[in-house]
Protein backbone atom coordinates (compact mmCIF):
# COMPACT_ATOMS: atom_id res chain seq x y z
CA UNK A 1 0.00 0.00 0.00
CA UNK A 2 2.89 2.38 0.75
CA UNK A 3 4.05 3.05 -2.83
CA UNK A 4 0.55 3.85 -4.11
CA UNK A 5 0.13 6.14 -1.14
CA UNK A 6 3.03 8.29 -2.21
CA UNK A 7 1.72 8.22 -5.76
CA UNK A 8 -1.57 9.44 -4.34
CA UNK A 9 0.20 12.29 -2.57
CA UNK A 10 1.91 13.15 -5.83
CA UNK A 11 -1.34 13.20 -7.79
CA UNK A 12 -3.06 15.27 -5.11
CA UNK A 13 -0.16 17.72 -5.09
CA UNK A 14 -0.25 17.98 -8.90
CA UNK A 15 -3.98 18.67 -8.87
CA UNK A 16 -3.53 21.33 -6.21
CA UNK A 17 -0.62 22.95 -8.08
CA UNK A 18 -2.62 23.18 -11.30
CA UNK A 19 -5.53 24.72 -9.41
CA UNK A 20 -3.24 27.32 -7.80
CA UNK A 21 -1.63 28.51 -11.02
CA UNK A 22 -4.79 28.28 -13.13
CA UNK A 23 -5.80 31.99 -12.90
CA UNK A 24 -2.30 33.05 -14.03
CA UNK A 25 -2.49 30.77 -17.02
CA UNK A 26 -5.94 32.06 -17.84
CA UNK A 27 -4.73 35.63 -17.68
CA UNK A 28 -1.60 34.80 -19.67
CA UNK A 29 -3.76 33.21 -22.36
CA UNK A 30 -5.97 36.29 -22.16
CA UNK A 31 -8.96 34.08 -21.55
CA UNK A 32 -10.29 34.94 -18.07
CA UNK A 33 -13.50 33.05 -18.81
CA UNK A 34 -11.51 29.97 -17.81
CA UNK A 35 -11.47 31.25 -14.24
CA UNK A 36 -15.26 31.37 -14.17
CA UNK A 37 -15.52 27.84 -15.51
CA UNK A 38 -12.91 26.58 -13.07
CA UNK A 39 -14.70 28.25 -10.15
CA UNK A 40 -17.92 26.49 -11.13
CA UNK A 41 -16.05 23.20 -11.29
CA UNK A 42 -14.53 23.74 -7.86
CA UNK A 43 -17.91 24.57 -6.36
CA UNK A 44 -19.55 21.48 -7.84
CA UNK A 45 -16.48 19.55 -6.72
CA UNK A 46 -17.05 20.75 -3.15
CA UNK A 47 -20.66 19.54 -3.29
CA UNK A 48 -19.64 16.21 -4.79
CA UNK A 49 -16.88 15.77 -2.20
CA UNK A 50 -19.44 16.30 0.54
CA UNK A 51 -21.76 13.79 -1.07
CA UNK A 52 -18.88 11.33 -1.19
CA UNK A 53 -18.67 11.47 2.61
CA UNK A 54 -21.93 9.56 2.85
CA UNK A 55 -22.04 7.87 -0.56
CA UNK A 56 -18.50 6.54 -0.56
CA UNK A 57 -17.88 6.08 3.15
CA UNK A 58 -21.31 5.42 4.56
CA UNK A 59 -23.02 3.74 1.59
CA UNK A 60 -25.97 6.10 1.91
CA UNK A 61 -27.22 6.76 -1.59
CA UNK A 62 -28.73 10.22 -1.24
CA UNK A 63 -30.59 11.27 -4.34
CA UNK A 64 -31.57 14.55 -2.74
CA UNK A 65 -28.38 16.48 -2.23
CA UNK A 66 -29.43 19.15 -4.69
CA UNK A 67 -31.86 20.28 -1.99
CA UNK A 68 -28.98 21.22 0.32
CA UNK A 69 -27.10 22.82 -2.56
CA UNK A 70 -30.18 24.94 -3.29
CA UNK A 71 -30.87 25.71 0.37
CA UNK A 72 -27.35 27.02 0.85
CA UNK A 73 -27.78 29.19 -2.22
CA UNK A 74 -31.17 30.47 -1.06
CA UNK A 75 -29.83 31.43 2.37
CA UNK A 76 -27.35 33.72 0.63
CA UNK A 77 -30.07 34.84 -1.78
CA UNK A 78 -32.59 35.72 0.91
CA UNK A 79 -30.08 37.49 3.16
CA UNK A 80 -28.73 39.51 0.24
CA UNK A 81 -32.20 40.30 -1.05
CA UNK A 82 -33.42 41.68 2.28
CA UNK A 83 -30.20 43.51 2.93
CA UNK A 84 -30.30 45.10 -0.51
CA UNK A 85 -33.88 46.35 -0.15
CA UNK A 86 -33.46 46.98 3.57
CA UNK A 87 -36.51 44.85 4.37
CA UNK A 88 -37.01 42.87 7.56
CA UNK A 89 -36.96 39.10 6.99
CA UNK A 90 -40.59 38.13 7.68
CA UNK A 91 -40.47 34.66 9.19
CA UNK A 92 -37.89 35.27 11.90
CA UNK A 93 -38.66 35.96 15.58
CA UNK A 94 -36.18 38.86 15.56
CA UNK A 95 -36.09 41.93 13.35
CA UNK A 96 -33.21 41.44 10.98
CA UNK A 97 -32.57 42.85 7.54
CA UNK A 98 -30.04 40.20 6.59
CA UNK A 99 -26.37 40.71 6.02
CA UNK A 100 -23.87 40.89 3.23
CA UNK A 101 -20.96 39.51 5.22
CA UNK A 102 -19.65 36.17 4.01
CA UNK A 103 -18.88 35.34 7.64
CA UNK A 104 -22.59 35.53 8.40
CA UNK A 105 -24.05 34.24 5.14
CA UNK A 106 -21.89 31.20 4.55
CA UNK A 107 -21.95 29.64 8.03
CA UNK A 108 -25.68 30.27 8.14
CA UNK A 109 -26.07 28.52 4.79
CA UNK A 110 -24.26 25.53 6.29
CA UNK A 111 -26.36 25.58 9.44
CA UNK A 112 -29.68 25.77 7.61
CA UNK A 113 -28.69 22.97 5.24
CA UNK A 114 -27.47 20.90 8.15
CA UNK A 115 -30.63 21.45 10.16
CA UNK A 116 -32.94 20.49 7.29
CA UNK A 117 -30.71 17.47 6.64
CA UNK A 118 -31.13 16.44 10.25
CA UNK A 119 -34.92 16.47 9.86
CA UNK A 120 -34.87 14.65 6.52
CA UNK A 121 -32.27 12.23 7.85
CA UNK A 122 -34.29 11.30 10.93
CA UNK A 123 -37.14 10.24 8.66
CA UNK A 124 -35.26 8.69 5.77
CA UNK A 125 -32.73 6.78 7.89
CA UNK A 126 -35.62 4.77 9.27
CA UNK A 127 -35.32 2.94 5.97
CA UNK A 128 -32.57 1.53 3.82
CA UNK A 129 -31.58 0.77 0.27
CA UNK A 130 -34.08 1.59 -2.42
CA UNK A 131 -36.40 3.31 0.05
CA UNK A 132 -33.65 5.67 1.15
CA UNK A 133 -32.92 6.65 -2.46
CA UNK A 134 -36.55 7.38 -3.22
CA UNK A 135 -37.24 9.20 0.03
CA UNK A 136 -34.29 11.55 -0.25
CA UNK A 137 -35.36 12.25 -3.83
CA UNK A 138 -38.93 12.91 -2.74
CA UNK A 139 -37.97 15.28 0.07
CA UNK A 140 -35.65 17.18 -2.24
CA UNK A 141 -38.50 17.52 -4.69
CA UNK A 142 -40.69 18.81 -1.89
CA UNK A 143 -38.21 21.58 -1.12
CA UNK A 144 -37.93 22.31 -4.84
CA UNK A 145 -41.69 22.81 -5.08
CA UNK A 146 -41.61 24.79 -1.85
CA UNK A 147 -39.20 27.31 -3.39
CA UNK A 148 -41.15 27.43 -6.64
CA UNK A 149 -44.26 28.26 -4.64
CA UNK A 150 -42.71 31.27 -2.91
CA UNK A 151 -43.48 34.32 -5.08
CA UNK A 152 -41.69 36.67 -2.66
CA UNK A 153 -38.37 35.09 -3.63
CA UNK A 154 -39.01 34.92 -7.33
CA UNK A 155 -40.82 31.59 -7.46
CA UNK A 156 -39.84 29.65 -10.52
CA UNK A 157 -37.91 32.61 -12.02
CA UNK A 158 -35.48 32.84 -9.15
CA UNK A 159 -33.85 35.79 -7.47
CA UNK A 160 -31.21 38.20 -8.72
CA UNK A 161 -28.61 39.10 -6.13
CA UNK A 162 -26.94 42.15 -7.72
CA UNK A 163 -23.80 41.63 -5.65
CA UNK A 164 -21.59 39.04 -4.03
CA UNK A 165 -20.98 38.42 -0.33
CA UNK A 166 -18.48 40.67 1.40
CA UNK A 167 -15.20 39.75 3.06
CA UNK A 168 -13.25 42.70 4.53
CA UNK A 169 -10.08 43.36 2.55
CA UNK A 170 -11.17 41.31 -0.45
CA UNK A 171 -13.23 42.06 -3.51
CA UNK A 172 -15.20 38.93 -4.33
CA UNK A 173 -16.60 40.45 -7.50
CA UNK A 174 -13.08 40.04 -8.88
CA UNK A 175 -13.15 36.61 -10.46
CA UNK A 176 -9.57 35.69 -9.49
CA UNK A 177 -10.04 36.69 -5.88
CA UNK A 178 -13.32 34.79 -5.67
CA UNK A 179 -11.63 31.80 -7.28
CA UNK A 180 -8.93 31.73 -4.62
CA UNK A 181 -11.44 32.08 -1.82
CA UNK A 182 -13.32 29.08 -3.25
CA UNK A 183 -10.08 27.14 -3.65
CA UNK A 184 -9.12 27.80 -0.03
CA UNK A 185 -12.53 26.64 1.17
CA UNK A 186 -12.45 23.51 -0.99
CA UNK A 187 -8.96 22.67 0.30
CA UNK A 188 -10.01 23.22 3.91
CA UNK A 189 -13.12 21.10 3.43
CA UNK A 190 -10.99 18.38 1.89
CA UNK A 191 -8.55 18.36 4.80
CA UNK A 192 -11.39 18.39 7.29
CA UNK A 193 -13.25 15.58 5.52
CA UNK A 194 -10.12 13.49 5.35
CA UNK A 195 -9.59 13.88 9.06
CA UNK A 196 -13.20 12.86 9.67
CA UNK A 197 -12.88 9.84 7.40
CA UNK A 198 -9.73 8.65 9.14
CA UNK A 199 -11.05 9.29 12.64
CA UNK A 200 -12.87 6.77 14.78
CA UNK A 201 -16.09 8.27 13.51
CA UNK A 202 -15.04 7.61 9.93
CA UNK A 203 -14.09 4.04 10.80
CA UNK A 204 -17.58 3.43 12.07
CA UNK A 205 -19.01 4.74 8.79
CA UNK A 206 -16.71 2.43 6.86
CA UNK A 207 -17.80 -0.45 9.04
CA UNK A 208 -21.45 0.32 8.30
CA UNK A 209 -20.70 0.35 4.60
CA UNK A 210 -19.26 -3.15 4.72
CA UNK A 211 -21.49 -4.79 7.29
CA UNK A 212 -24.10 -2.73 9.05
CA UNK A 213 -25.86 -5.54 10.97
CA UNK A 214 -22.52 -6.57 12.46
CA UNK A 215 -21.82 -3.00 13.53
CA UNK A 216 -25.08 -3.08 15.42
CA UNK A 217 -24.21 -6.25 17.31
CA UNK A 218 -20.79 -4.78 18.00
CA UNK A 219 -22.63 -2.09 19.93
CA UNK A 220 -22.72 0.84 17.58
CA UNK A 221 -25.84 3.01 17.49
CA UNK A 222 -25.61 2.93 13.73
CA UNK A 223 -28.41 5.35 12.89
CA UNK A 224 -26.96 8.09 15.05
CA UNK A 225 -23.61 7.84 13.27
CA UNK A 226 -25.24 7.84 9.86
CA UNK A 227 -27.46 10.77 10.75
CA UNK A 228 -24.48 12.80 11.81
CA UNK A 229 -22.59 11.93 8.62
CA UNK A 230 -25.64 12.86 6.57
CA UNK A 231 -25.81 16.22 8.33
CA UNK A 232 -22.10 16.99 7.89
CA UNK A 233 -22.38 16.07 4.23
CA UNK A 234 -25.36 18.38 3.78
CA UNK A 235 -23.44 21.22 5.45
CA UNK A 236 -20.62 20.93 2.94
CA UNK A 237 -23.13 20.85 0.12
CA UNK A 238 -24.86 23.89 1.62
CA UNK A 239 -21.55 25.77 1.63
CA UNK A 240 -21.12 24.86 -2.02
CA UNK A 241 -24.60 26.23 -2.66
CA UNK A 242 -23.72 29.49 -0.92
CA UNK A 243 -20.67 29.81 -3.16
CA UNK A 244 -22.77 28.97 -6.22
CA UNK A 245 -25.17 31.79 -5.39
CA UNK A 246 -22.18 34.11 -5.33
CA UNK A 247 -20.73 32.73 -8.52
CA UNK A 248 -23.99 33.19 -10.47
CA UNK A 249 -25.22 36.23 -8.50
CA UNK A 250 -28.54 34.50 -9.00
CA UNK A 251 -30.45 31.74 -7.27
CA UNK A 252 -33.34 29.72 -8.64
CA UNK A 253 -35.16 26.49 -7.83
CA UNK A 254 -33.37 24.81 -10.74
CA UNK A 255 -30.35 24.47 -8.42
CA UNK A 256 -32.51 22.07 -6.40
CA UNK A 257 -33.83 20.11 -9.39
CA UNK A 258 -33.59 16.33 -9.16
CA UNK A 259 -31.21 16.30 -12.13
CA UNK A 260 -28.68 18.31 -10.11
CA UNK A 261 -28.71 15.53 -7.51
CA UNK A 262 -28.12 13.06 -10.32
CA UNK A 263 -25.21 15.08 -11.66
CA UNK A 264 -23.57 15.26 -8.23
CA UNK A 265 -23.79 11.49 -7.98
CA UNK A 266 -22.33 11.09 -11.45
CA UNK A 267 -19.39 13.31 -10.46
CA UNK A 268 -18.69 11.16 -7.41
CA UNK A 269 -18.77 7.95 -9.44
CA UNK A 270 -16.81 9.23 -12.44
CA UNK A 271 -14.07 10.57 -10.20
CA UNK A 272 -14.00 7.65 -7.79
CA UNK A 273 -16.27 6.99 -4.85
CA UNK A 274 -14.74 6.94 -1.40
CA UNK A 275 -11.67 8.97 -2.31
CA UNK A 276 -12.83 12.56 -1.52
CA UNK A 277 -10.49 14.04 -4.11
CA UNK A 278 -12.01 11.83 -6.81
CA UNK A 279 -15.37 13.64 -6.80
CA UNK A 280 -13.50 16.89 -7.41
CA UNK A 281 -11.82 15.26 -10.41
CA UNK A 282 -15.25 13.94 -11.41
CA UNK A 283 -16.75 17.42 -11.30
CA UNK A 284 -14.01 18.71 -13.59
CA UNK A 285 -14.50 15.72 -15.88
CA UNK A 286 -18.27 15.97 -16.18
CA UNK A 287 -18.40 19.73 -16.56
CA UNK A 288 -15.64 19.84 -19.16
CA UNK A 289 -17.38 16.99 -20.97
CA UNK A 290 -20.50 19.08 -21.04
CA UNK A 291 -18.58 22.12 -22.28
CA UNK A 292 -16.84 20.18 -25.03
CA UNK A 293 -19.87 18.20 -26.17
CA UNK A 294 -22.06 21.30 -26.08
CA UNK A 295 -19.54 22.87 -28.46
CA UNK A 296 -19.98 19.95 -30.87
CA UNK A 297 -23.74 19.63 -30.98
CA UNK A 298 -26.76 21.07 -29.23
CA UNK A 299 -27.91 17.48 -28.67
CA UNK A 300 -24.86 16.67 -26.56
CA UNK A 301 -26.93 14.82 -23.97
CA UNK A 302 -27.60 12.08 -26.47
CA UNK A 303 -23.86 11.38 -26.36
CA UNK A 304 -23.38 11.92 -22.63
CA UNK A 305 -26.28 9.63 -21.65
CA UNK A 306 -24.99 6.45 -23.31
CA UNK A 307 -21.44 7.28 -22.17
CA UNK A 308 -22.73 7.38 -18.64
CA UNK A 309 -24.54 4.05 -18.96
CA UNK A 310 -21.42 2.60 -20.49
CA UNK A 311 -19.13 3.86 -17.74
CA UNK A 312 -21.42 2.46 -15.04
CA UNK A 313 -21.54 -0.93 -16.73
CA UNK A 314 -17.87 -1.26 -17.52
CA UNK A 315 -15.66 1.20 -15.62
CA UNK A 316 -16.31 1.14 -11.92
CA UNK A 317 -13.33 2.45 -10.01
CA UNK A 318 -13.39 6.04 -11.21
CA UNK A 319 -10.72 8.22 -12.74
CA UNK A 320 -8.90 9.13 -9.54
CA UNK A 321 -8.28 5.51 -8.58
CA UNK A 322 -6.93 4.97 -12.06
CA UNK A 323 -4.58 7.94 -11.65
CA UNK A 324 -3.19 6.78 -8.33
CA UNK A 325 -3.17 3.11 -9.33
CA UNK A 326 -5.45 1.93 -6.57
CA UNK A 327 -7.79 -1.03 -6.61
CA UNK A 328 -11.54 -0.57 -6.43
CA UNK A 329 -12.14 -2.04 -3.00
CA UNK A 330 -9.29 -0.37 -1.16
Amino acid sequence: MEPSLSRGTLVRFAIFAVLVVLPWIAHAMDDPFWITIATRMLIYGLAAMSLDLILGYGAMVSFGHAAFFGLGAYVVGVLTHHNFYDEVIPFLPIEWVGSMSAFVQWPLAMLVSGFIALLIGVLSLRTQGVYFIMITLAFAQMLYFFMIGLPDYGGEDGLNLWQRSEIPGLDLSDSSQFYYVVLVLVSLWFLLSRRVVESRFGRVLTGCRYNEPRMRTLGYPVVRYKLLAFTISAMGTGLAGALMANQNEFVSPSLMAWSTSGELMVMVILGGMGTLIGPLVGAFLLLSFEEVLAGLTEHWMVILGPLLVFSVLFARGGLYRFLVGQRDDE
Binding site: F63, R126, G155, G262, L313
Partner: protein, 304 residues
Protein backbone atom coordinates in the same frame (compact mmCIF):
# COMPACT_ATOMS: atom_id res chain seq x y z
CA UNK B 1 -70.49 20.26 -6.44
CA UNK B 2 -66.97 21.50 -6.85
CA UNK B 3 -65.78 19.12 -4.17
CA UNK B 4 -67.07 16.01 -5.94
CA UNK B 5 -65.50 17.17 -9.17
CA UNK B 6 -62.13 17.71 -7.50
CA UNK B 7 -62.43 14.40 -5.73
CA UNK B 8 -62.95 12.65 -9.05
CA UNK B 9 -60.00 14.56 -10.49
CA UNK B 10 -58.00 13.20 -7.57
CA UNK B 11 -59.15 9.66 -8.30
CA UNK B 12 -58.24 10.16 -11.94
CA UNK B 13 -54.70 11.31 -11.03
CA UNK B 14 -54.56 8.42 -8.59
CA UNK B 15 -55.33 5.95 -11.37
CA UNK B 16 -52.54 7.37 -13.53
CA UNK B 17 -50.15 7.04 -10.61
CA UNK B 18 -51.36 3.50 -10.01
CA UNK B 19 -50.60 2.54 -13.61
CA UNK B 20 -47.06 3.88 -13.17
CA UNK B 21 -46.51 2.50 -9.70
CA UNK B 22 -47.88 -0.98 -10.41
CA UNK B 23 -45.25 -1.64 -13.06
CA UNK B 24 -42.43 -0.03 -11.14
CA UNK B 25 -43.26 -1.80 -7.90
CA UNK B 26 -43.40 -5.20 -9.62
CA UNK B 27 -40.00 -4.55 -11.14
CA UNK B 28 -38.65 -3.52 -7.72
CA UNK B 29 -40.24 -6.44 -5.97
CA UNK B 30 -39.10 -9.11 -8.38
CA UNK B 31 -35.85 -7.91 -9.87
CA UNK B 32 -34.76 -5.66 -6.97
CA UNK B 33 -34.13 -3.03 -9.59
CA UNK B 34 -34.67 0.70 -9.20
CA UNK B 35 -35.54 2.02 -12.63
CA UNK B 36 -35.53 5.79 -13.00
CA UNK B 37 -36.21 5.41 -16.71
CA UNK B 38 -39.75 4.30 -15.97
CA UNK B 39 -40.77 7.93 -16.49
CA UNK B 40 -39.15 7.85 -19.92
CA UNK B 41 -41.38 4.92 -20.89
CA UNK B 42 -44.37 7.04 -19.84
CA UNK B 43 -43.10 9.80 -22.11
CA UNK B 44 -42.61 7.34 -24.98
CA UNK B 45 -46.20 6.16 -24.50
CA UNK B 46 -47.50 9.73 -24.64
CA UNK B 47 -45.55 10.70 -27.77
CA UNK B 48 -46.41 7.53 -29.67
CA UNK B 49 -50.07 7.68 -28.71
CA UNK B 50 -50.24 11.24 -30.02
CA UNK B 51 -48.40 10.40 -33.23
CA UNK B 52 -50.30 7.20 -34.01
CA UNK B 53 -53.62 8.87 -33.17
CA UNK B 54 -52.92 11.66 -35.65
CA UNK B 55 -51.75 9.18 -38.29
CA UNK B 56 -54.58 6.68 -37.90
CA UNK B 57 -57.30 9.09 -36.92
CA UNK B 58 -58.28 6.82 -34.04
CA UNK B 59 -57.42 7.40 -30.39
CA UNK B 60 -57.98 3.73 -29.57
CA UNK B 61 -55.40 2.66 -32.14
CA UNK B 62 -53.13 5.43 -30.91
CA UNK B 63 -53.37 4.29 -27.32
CA UNK B 64 -52.62 0.73 -28.35
CA UNK B 65 -49.64 1.99 -30.38
CA UNK B 66 -48.38 3.94 -27.38
CA UNK B 67 -48.53 0.86 -25.14
CA UNK B 68 -46.79 -1.33 -27.68
CA UNK B 69 -44.09 1.28 -28.33
CA UNK B 70 -43.38 1.66 -24.61
CA UNK B 71 -43.34 -2.11 -24.10
CA UNK B 72 -40.90 -2.51 -27.01
CA UNK B 73 -38.66 0.23 -25.62
CA UNK B 74 -38.88 -1.53 -22.28
CA UNK B 75 -37.72 -4.82 -23.74
CA UNK B 76 -34.92 -3.04 -25.57
CA UNK B 77 -33.72 -1.31 -22.40
CA UNK B 78 -33.99 -4.55 -20.47
CA UNK B 79 -31.91 -6.48 -22.96
CA UNK B 80 -29.27 -3.78 -23.44
CA UNK B 81 -28.78 -2.43 -19.95
CA UNK B 82 -31.04 -3.63 -17.11
CA UNK B 83 -30.07 -7.25 -17.53
CA UNK B 84 -26.52 -6.32 -16.53
CA UNK B 85 -27.71 -4.36 -13.53
CA UNK B 86 -29.79 -6.88 -11.57
CA UNK B 87 -26.81 -8.00 -9.54
CA UNK B 88 -25.30 -4.56 -9.15
CA UNK B 89 -25.99 -2.32 -6.20
CA UNK B 90 -28.75 0.26 -6.31
CA UNK B 91 -26.29 3.08 -6.87
CA UNK B 92 -25.22 1.61 -10.21
CA UNK B 93 -28.84 1.10 -11.17
CA UNK B 94 -29.65 4.71 -10.35
CA UNK B 95 -26.73 6.05 -12.37
CA UNK B 96 -27.27 3.86 -15.42
CA UNK B 97 -30.97 4.61 -15.57
CA UNK B 98 -30.16 8.29 -15.04
CA UNK B 99 -28.04 8.01 -18.17
CA UNK B 100 -30.95 6.41 -19.98
CA UNK B 101 -33.23 9.30 -19.00
CA UNK B 102 -30.79 11.85 -20.40
CA UNK B 103 -30.55 9.87 -23.63
CA UNK B 104 -34.30 9.32 -23.95
CA UNK B 105 -35.12 12.98 -23.31
CA UNK B 106 -32.62 14.25 -25.84
CA UNK B 107 -33.57 11.64 -28.45
CA UNK B 108 -37.22 12.59 -28.04
CA UNK B 109 -36.31 16.24 -28.54
CA UNK B 110 -34.44 15.33 -31.73
CA UNK B 111 -37.24 13.18 -33.16
CA UNK B 112 -40.32 15.14 -32.14
CA UNK B 113 -38.88 18.64 -31.79
CA UNK B 114 -38.57 20.75 -28.66
CA UNK B 115 -42.12 22.16 -28.64
CA UNK B 116 -44.90 20.45 -26.70
CA UNK B 117 -47.57 18.40 -28.47
CA UNK B 118 -51.24 18.63 -27.63
CA UNK B 119 -53.81 15.94 -28.18
CA UNK B 120 -57.60 16.29 -28.00
CA UNK B 121 -59.74 13.60 -26.45
CA UNK B 122 -61.49 11.52 -29.14
CA UNK B 123 -64.93 12.77 -30.22
CA UNK B 124 -66.80 10.06 -28.37
CA UNK B 125 -65.18 11.14 -25.10
CA UNK B 126 -65.09 14.88 -25.59
CA UNK B 127 -68.48 15.55 -23.98
CA UNK B 128 -69.35 15.81 -20.32
CA UNK B 129 -71.44 13.34 -18.36
CA UNK B 130 -74.01 14.25 -15.72
CA UNK B 131 -72.68 12.28 -12.76
CA UNK B 132 -75.26 13.90 -10.47
CA UNK B 133 -78.04 16.27 -11.41
CA UNK B 134 -76.40 19.57 -12.42
CA UNK B 135 -72.92 18.14 -12.01
CA UNK B 136 -71.29 17.64 -15.38
CA UNK B 137 -67.96 15.85 -15.49
CA UNK B 138 -65.65 15.35 -18.48
CA UNK B 139 -66.26 11.92 -20.04
CA UNK B 140 -62.57 11.52 -20.83
CA UNK B 141 -61.54 11.72 -17.19
CA UNK B 142 -64.13 9.10 -16.32
CA UNK B 143 -62.64 6.97 -19.09
CA UNK B 144 -59.22 7.25 -17.42
CA UNK B 145 -60.68 6.20 -14.07
CA UNK B 146 -62.43 3.21 -15.65
CA UNK B 147 -59.23 2.21 -17.48
CA UNK B 148 -57.42 2.22 -14.15
CA UNK B 149 -60.05 -0.01 -12.57
CA UNK B 150 -59.90 -2.41 -15.51
CA UNK B 151 -56.10 -2.64 -15.24
CA UNK B 152 -56.34 -3.20 -11.48
CA UNK B 153 -58.76 -6.10 -12.00
CA UNK B 154 -56.61 -7.47 -14.81
CA UNK B 155 -53.47 -7.37 -12.61
CA UNK B 156 -55.28 -9.04 -9.74
CA UNK B 157 -56.38 -11.84 -12.02
CA UNK B 158 -52.93 -12.09 -13.55
CA UNK B 159 -51.12 -12.34 -10.23
CA UNK B 160 -53.51 -14.62 -8.37
CA UNK B 161 -54.89 -16.86 -11.13
CA UNK B 162 -52.33 -17.37 -13.86
CA UNK B 163 -49.13 -19.29 -14.30
CA UNK B 164 -47.24 -16.07 -14.97
CA UNK B 165 -48.60 -14.63 -11.74
CA UNK B 166 -47.56 -17.72 -9.84
CA UNK B 167 -44.05 -17.32 -11.23
CA UNK B 168 -44.06 -13.63 -10.35
CA UNK B 169 -44.96 -14.41 -6.76
CA UNK B 170 -42.49 -17.26 -6.55
CA UNK B 171 -39.75 -15.35 -8.34
CA UNK B 172 -39.89 -12.58 -5.77
CA UNK B 173 -39.21 -14.81 -2.79
CA UNK B 174 -37.59 -17.95 -4.10
CA UNK B 175 -35.57 -16.94 -7.10
CA UNK B 176 -33.24 -19.93 -6.90
CA UNK B 177 -36.17 -22.29 -6.56
CA UNK B 178 -37.81 -20.96 -9.69
CA UNK B 179 -34.59 -21.42 -11.60
CA UNK B 180 -34.03 -24.86 -10.10
CA UNK B 181 -37.47 -25.96 -11.23
CA UNK B 182 -36.38 -25.27 -14.77
CA UNK B 183 -38.13 -21.98 -15.45
CA UNK B 184 -36.30 -19.42 -17.48
CA UNK B 185 -35.97 -16.62 -14.96
CA UNK B 186 -34.42 -14.15 -17.36
CA UNK B 187 -37.37 -14.58 -19.71
CA UNK B 188 -39.66 -13.97 -16.75
CA UNK B 189 -37.78 -10.76 -15.98
CA UNK B 190 -38.07 -9.57 -19.56
CA UNK B 191 -41.80 -10.28 -19.57
CA UNK B 192 -42.38 -8.45 -16.29
CA UNK B 193 -40.31 -5.54 -17.51
CA UNK B 194 -42.33 -5.37 -20.72
CA UNK B 195 -45.54 -5.52 -18.71
CA UNK B 196 -44.41 -2.64 -16.49
CA UNK B 197 -43.26 -0.65 -19.50
CA UNK B 198 -46.58 -1.24 -21.26
CA UNK B 199 -48.48 0.03 -18.22
CA UNK B 200 -46.26 3.12 -18.10
CA UNK B 201 -46.95 3.61 -21.82
CA UNK B 202 -50.67 3.31 -21.17
CA UNK B 203 -50.43 5.93 -18.43
CA UNK B 204 -48.53 8.22 -20.79
CA UNK B 205 -51.01 7.67 -23.59
CA UNK B 206 -53.93 8.38 -21.29
CA UNK B 207 -52.21 11.53 -20.04
CA UNK B 208 -51.90 12.79 -23.63
CA UNK B 209 -55.31 14.53 -23.85
CA UNK B 210 -54.94 15.94 -20.32
CA UNK B 211 -51.44 17.41 -20.28
CA UNK B 212 -48.93 18.97 -22.60
CA UNK B 213 -46.84 16.20 -24.12
CA UNK B 214 -43.30 17.39 -23.60
CA UNK B 215 -39.80 16.30 -22.68
CA UNK B 216 -39.48 16.09 -18.90
CA UNK B 217 -43.08 14.98 -18.31
CA UNK B 218 -41.75 11.55 -17.32
CA UNK B 219 -39.68 12.77 -14.41
CA UNK B 220 -42.51 14.82 -12.94
CA UNK B 221 -44.68 11.77 -12.62
CA UNK B 222 -41.76 9.48 -11.74
CA UNK B 223 -41.09 11.28 -8.48
CA UNK B 224 -44.79 11.23 -7.61
CA UNK B 225 -44.74 7.53 -8.38
CA UNK B 226 -41.87 7.09 -5.94
CA UNK B 227 -43.94 8.79 -3.27
CA UNK B 228 -46.76 6.34 -4.08
CA UNK B 229 -44.43 3.36 -3.76
CA UNK B 230 -42.91 4.60 -0.51
CA UNK B 231 -46.39 4.96 0.95
CA UNK B 232 -47.76 1.75 -0.56
CA UNK B 233 -44.79 -0.48 0.16
CA UNK B 234 -42.35 -1.98 -2.32
CA UNK B 235 -43.57 -4.91 -4.37
CA UNK B 236 -47.24 -4.55 -3.49
CA UNK B 237 -49.68 -3.91 -6.34
CA UNK B 238 -52.45 -3.44 -3.83
CA UNK B 239 -50.30 -0.88 -2.02
CA UNK B 240 -49.72 0.88 -5.35
CA UNK B 241 -53.47 1.18 -5.87
CA UNK B 242 -54.31 2.41 -2.38
CA UNK B 243 -51.36 4.79 -2.17
CA UNK B 244 -51.91 5.98 -5.76
CA UNK B 245 -55.46 6.98 -4.94
CA UNK B 246 -54.37 8.54 -1.64
CA UNK B 247 -51.65 10.63 -3.26
CA UNK B 248 -53.88 11.59 -6.20
CA UNK B 249 -56.71 12.73 -3.98
CA UNK B 250 -54.55 14.51 -1.39
CA UNK B 251 -52.60 16.34 -4.08
CA UNK B 252 -55.66 17.44 -6.04
CA UNK B 253 -57.73 18.46 -3.04
CA UNK B 254 -54.91 20.33 -1.34
CA UNK B 255 -54.14 22.29 -4.48
CA UNK B 256 -57.83 23.06 -4.93
CA UNK B 257 -58.82 23.95 -1.40
CA UNK B 258 -55.76 24.64 0.76
CA UNK B 259 -55.14 28.16 -0.57
CA UNK B 260 -58.72 29.19 0.32
CA UNK B 261 -58.44 27.46 3.66
CA UNK B 262 -55.18 29.25 4.43
CA UNK B 263 -56.76 32.59 3.65
CA UNK B 264 -59.36 32.06 6.34
CA UNK B 265 -56.64 31.34 8.87
CA UNK B 266 -53.82 33.69 7.93
CA UNK B 267 -53.61 37.30 6.83
CA UNK B 268 -54.09 37.53 3.07
CA UNK B 269 -50.52 38.53 2.29
CA UNK B 270 -48.85 35.58 4.00
CA UNK B 271 -51.59 33.24 2.78
CA UNK B 272 -50.85 34.22 -0.80
CA UNK B 273 -47.13 33.86 -0.24
CA UNK B 274 -47.42 30.42 1.28
CA UNK B 275 -50.43 28.92 -0.51
CA UNK B 276 -48.58 27.54 -3.50
CA UNK B 277 -45.77 26.10 -1.41
CA UNK B 278 -47.88 24.46 1.24
CA UNK B 279 -50.38 22.85 -1.12
CA UNK B 280 -47.63 21.30 -3.23
CA UNK B 281 -46.02 19.92 -0.07
CA UNK B 282 -49.13 18.09 1.15
CA UNK B 283 -48.33 14.69 -0.34
CA UNK B 284 -44.79 14.77 1.02
CA UNK B 285 -46.17 15.47 4.46
CA UNK B 286 -48.41 12.43 4.07
CA UNK B 287 -45.33 10.47 3.04
CA UNK B 288 -43.41 11.66 6.10
CA UNK B 289 -46.29 10.63 8.37
CA UNK B 290 -46.41 7.16 6.82
CA UNK B 291 -42.66 6.86 7.32
CA UNK B 292 -43.00 7.67 11.00
CA UNK B 293 -45.77 5.14 11.54
CA UNK B 294 -44.81 2.41 9.07
CA UNK B 295 -41.33 2.86 7.59
CA UNK B 296 -41.87 -0.06 5.22
CA UNK B 297 -45.06 1.33 3.70
CA UNK B 298 -48.71 0.44 4.17
CA UNK B 299 -48.54 -2.89 2.43
CA UNK B 300 -45.41 -4.93 2.31
CA UNK B 301 -45.32 -7.71 -0.23
CA UNK B 302 -43.37 -10.86 -0.78
CA UNK B 303 -40.90 -10.27 2.02
CA UNK B 304 -38.61 -8.05 -0.06
Amino acid sequence: MLFLEQLLNGVQLGMMLFLMAAGLTLIFGIMHLINLAHGSLYMVGAYFTATVTVMSGSFAIGLFGGCVAAACCGVLIELLAMRHLYHRDHLDQVLATFGIILTANEATKMIFGPQALFLNPPDWLSETVQILPDTPYPAYRLFVIISGIVVALFLRHLITHTRLGMLIRAGATHREMVTALGFNISLLFTVVFALGAGLAGLAGGLAGPLLAIEVGMGEQILILTFVVIIIGGIGSVKGALVAGLLVGIVDTLSRAFLPTLLKTMLPTASADALAGSVSSMAIYIVMALVLIVRPEGLYRAYGT
